[in-house]
């Protein structure tokens, strides 16, 4: 099928992008830390023979090209190397933490879409009315405010001051246990039939999700608004008005389809942006996710985690592009593929 061709072509296009990403992560891991061996052994006891042995074991005595080849080959086999601080394979450590990040990001993504599209359409339809001005100012502020600061503000109000929110420390209270099946607490708590835990998971999610999504909700609202304003002023919407179609048909059945075309690309971008943005928020809320793990490891001089995290992020981002392209092609018949 024609759409299959599009997917295949985009998948092939992913290859050079991913090679570029691998080069960068390789440089991060092998070139920036002055001496991985010293890092591994600690500074003091520098027994020369042992150092040489380890260098050989790690392949660090090979030419840089060979090292890169081995690096890429290992990654294609799912081997991201070892996490030097925990001595576990990086992938194992990542697998434990990624669901926490994904849960945060996916919920944020849904919140963004569910809030921004109706808000944007509302602001466009009520253009220059009071509600539109409120939406515009709010989204302008939302775009300007840094997420981590908003997160701290939320903690101050809802945890410290109002005592409505649970402490900003992780995904769930320490008294509650959820048997990990998928790693997604929302799913696992339901699988266990534990509705109380399910509610608690939401309570813990609320503030970080708000902090992660604020900026994206604001951006998307602004984009949907401007795109809808353009659509509502178009000739074809004038035709629809001249045909006496109902406002709801014009705004939602017709206009929204046209108006969502430009934002689709941004929605595709959003997932990647949210993962990136989640890193800081995970630090603020002590969220045991992959972003926080990658950053704290890197700060400790351990570059395996951040390499893996960057590769995963890049892959996710490229896949999101692909999904956005496919959606675009499905909606817009003019796209040739």
């Amino acid at each position: 099928m024609r759409i299959g061709l599009l997917i295949l072509r985009r998948l092939l296009l992913m290859i050079p992008v991913m090679v570029g990403v691998l080069v960068i992560t390789f440089v991060i891991g092998r070139v920036i830390p002055a001496d991985p061996v010293a890092l591994l052994m600690g500074q003091e006891n520098a027994d020369e023979a042992l150092v040489q042995q380890i260098r050989h074991d790690l392949g660090l005595d090979q030419p840089i090209w060979t090292q890169f080849y081995v690096y890429v080959r290992n990654i294609t086999r799912g081997d991201f190397g070892m996490c030097w601080s925990t001595r576990n394979p990086v992938l194992d450590d990542l697998a434990v933490r990624l669901p926490a990040t994904l849960e945060l990001v996916i919920v944020s993504m849904i919140v963004c879409i569910v809030l921004a599209i109706p808000l944007g359409v509302y602001a466009a339809v009520k253009r220059d009315a009071f509600g539109d001005h409120v939406t515009r100012v709010a989204s302008l502020v939302g775009v300007a405010v840094p997420g981590f600061w908003f997160g701290l503000l939320l903690i101050f109000f809802f945890y410290y001051y109002l005592r409505w929110a649970p402490p900003p420390m992780g995904r769930i209270g320490f008294r509650t246990t959820i048997v990990p099946v998928t790693g997604f607490n929302l799913i696992d708590s339901l699988l266990a039939g534990n509705l109380k835990a399910f509610g608690e998971v939401w309570a813990y999610l609320a503030l970080p999700v708000a902090a992660v999504s604020l900026r994206k909700v604001a951006q998307l609202t602004r984009l949907v608004r401007s795109s809808m304003i353009e659509v509502l002023a178009s000739d074809y919407i004038q035709t629809a008005r001249a045909q006496g179609l109902r406002r709801s048909t014009i705004n939602f059945r017709l206009g929204l389809k046209n108006g969502l075309l430009p934002p689709i690309t941004q929605i595709g971008d959003m997932f990647g942006d949210l993962i990136g943005g989640a890193v800081v928020i995970e630090l603020v809320f002590a969220w045991p996710g992959a972003g926080r793990w990658a950053v704290t490891s890197a700060l400790a001089g351990d570059f395996g985690p951040i390499q893996a995290f960057v590769v995963i992020c890049a892959a996710v981002r490229v896949l999101c592009f692909l999904v956005a392209d496919i959606l675009y092609a499905v909606i817009d018949p003019r796209i040739k593929y």
Partner: protein, 352 residues
């Protein structure tokens, strides 16, 4: 914008005998950042039942605003200062938006310039017809498809069945306009408004579309308002014609009368620049530019460009007066300047 203000008279709502649309003293302004634009300064227009009435005039003279006022599709910056638009015993100016929605598309059809942009790029012809037929005729998918097919055949669309599934970008501009005409006439409206329907089309396509337009309007038994800046188009299609200038109607009558017995110097100028005689290879045009409607002149709107104007034209506005049965003109010098052998060359004083 609210339409409170001093709208004239609440007289009877019956339209005169044989008249489908009766516009009286329609005044429309636009409130813009650069000032108030007096787009229409008192338009009168009657559309006779079963006839095609052409509306001519240079760009910016208020033709589209007139049509949009009838459809009540003016932007929110517009304000109707006065006037009545009587249609089917009702004043459209006083209709609420939802009342108008029931009229638009069903009892008044309208098509626009640039048919490709006027169709939604993301929906097939069938879907777009379905929205309309479902809204006004309450047809389901299946019935709508049947009716759509018949409509496309009525507008002589080759391969109608296939075209139902086409998107606008897969159609030629002429085909798009056929689809628009099909939509405009889908509910057999009493009134059909076409705003520059052939502008931008190839000459041959233009002729076909006009032919189709004429044929269908008569066949459906509709009454049409055909807006165009091209007098040639009007000469070929219209029974009556009005000429607008600077937000006013300056001459109105049967197409024949206006062309054979032109009374207004502006109409004369338009005709000269449209139809150049065989032995005449000069390019005719009307010198000067259209007036700035933010500061309409105190006298006749055409005065600044008029070759036959007199002192009177600068101070007072000429009223539309009937010169011969149904042929009306707003000019103190009507029929002057050797304009054919027009009527009695009446000139009266407007009091304003």
């Amino acid at each position: 914008m609210e339409k409170e203000t001093t709208r004239k008279g609440a007289g009877p709502l019956e339209t005169p005998q044989g008249v489908v649309l009766h516009i009286a003293d329609l005044r429309v302004v636009f409130h813009t950042y650069v000032g108030t634009v007096h787009a229409l300064s008192g338009i009168d227009l009657d559309l006779r039942e079963g006839k095609i009435t052409g509306l001519a005039g240079e760009t910016g003279c208020g033709k589209s605003v007139t049509a949009k006022a009838v459809m009540q599709l003016l932007p929110s910056t517009a304000e109707v200062l006065s006037g009545r638009i009587l249609f089917g015993g009702e004043d459209l100016v006083r209709k609420t938006p939802s009342e108008m929605d029931a009229i638009r598309g069903k009892r008044i059809g309208m098509i626009f310039q640039n048919p490709r942009a006027a169709l939604n790029p993301l929906f097939t012809v069938e879907e777009q017809l379905y929205f309309l037929l479902h809204r006004h005729e309450h047809l389901g998918r299946k019935e709508a498809r049947k009716r759509s097919l018949a409509l496309l055949e009525a507008v002589r669309m080759g391969g109608a069945k296939k075209r139902l599934r086409s998107y606008p970008f897969e159609l030629s501009t002429g085909m798009c306009q056929r689809v628009m005409i099909a939509m405009g006439l889908a509910c057999s409206p009493k009134l059909f408004i076409a705003d520059e329907p052939t502008t931008g089309l190839d000459v041959t396509v233009q002729a076909q579309v006009l032919e189709l337009f004429k044929h269908l309007v008569y066949e459906v038994g509709s009454t049409a308002l055909l807006i165009t800046h091209d007098l040639g188009v009007i000469a070929e299609t219209s029974d009556y014609m009005g000429v607008m200038y600077g937000g006013r109607m300056v001459e109105f009558g049967t197409t024949e009368d206006l062309i054979e017995h032109t009374l207004h110097p502006y109409t004369q100028g338009l005709l000269r620049s449209s139809f150049t005689g065989e032995d005449d290879d000069e390019l005719h045009y009307i010198p000067g530019v259209v007036p700035d409607l933010r500061r309409p002149p105190s006298g006749c709107v055409f005065e600044a460009r008029c070759a036959v104007c007199v002192e009177e034209c600068r101070v007072s506005v000429p009223d539309m007066i009937e010169v011969e049965n149904g042929h009306r003109v707003a000019c103190f010098q009507a029929g002057a300047a050797g304009i054919a052998d027009g009527g009695k060359a009446g000139s009266t004083r407007g009091e304003r």
